[in-house]
Amino acid sequence: MNRFLLPLGAFALLVIVLAVGIKHSPEKGIIPSPLIGKAAPSFHLPVLNDSARTLSTSDLKGRWYVFNVWGTWCVSCREEHSFLLQIQKSGLIPVIGLDWKDDDDQAREWLAQLGNPYEVVAVDRDGRTAIDWGVYGAPETFLVNPQGIVVYKYVGPLTPDAWETEFLPRLPAHRAAKS
């Protein structure tokens, strides 16, 4: 009996280690952002539909906003586009776009064809701002609070389900309505 105890104990330990590993492993391919709880990375970029204008992080301070990284080359961005339009229609929160490594003309055409859900679109031609935000694949959607702190990050095409369960509960309007 005694001589089985040690191997059995070792096996149990192995099972525990693996179980913890599986439970903690993030959903395949989704990496938690180290930006959550930190200040939104600053940028100063040209605006898509107004060549005279630029947009900086400081312009966005003082209110909640959704920061959506997209590109016309990104197939899943087309998938989430109609839902972004719905968010805009709800008037709950402004959606700010970051057009990532894209062709300006194509981007304008895309918005003209599919509708423009963005209050303003900043243009990241060389991809530096995307790296600053830790973006690794479009679409990615951030929620930023009035103090300019990143509250949440969602990877992949935004779904109504994710909006209801992850974004809305973090917004103060929703909290007030609930209590």
Binding site: G29, S33, P34, P41, G127, R128, I131, W133, G134, Y136
Partner: protein, 147 residues
Amino acid sequence: MGRGLLIWLTMAVLLSTRVVLAVDTTQLANPALQTRYLALTHELRCMQCQNQTIADSPVGLASDMRREVREMLLAGKSDDDVRNFMVARYGEFILFRPRFSARTAWLWLAPGVLLLIGLLVAVRVVRQRSALVGQDNEPVEEDSPPT
């Protein structure tokens, strides 16, 4: 003759694929910087194709990240500056060689601990066995050769 041709063809194919596979053709003027550049790009993960380094990955994001590494090195930043820059944006996951911290200590120490346990077990087994030999006083039965 047929075999000789085959060998030449194989070599030709192998050599040409090597050229095709070179994703990153960066050549920094300073050889010391080039060495550091190669080392760094080979230990940073391409976040888009997560099992490749940014040195090996042909995707646009990897080349953007190589550009960041290159520019930081040319600006006189240290290797750790580059690592910190990437970790601040993408998290520890971007490092193929995790840094030693409270969270990663077990990862670095486990092999040593396991080796130690193995050594202890081996020593115990050997001791037990030699003790058995010591207690065994019976003479070994031997066949005597026929006379």
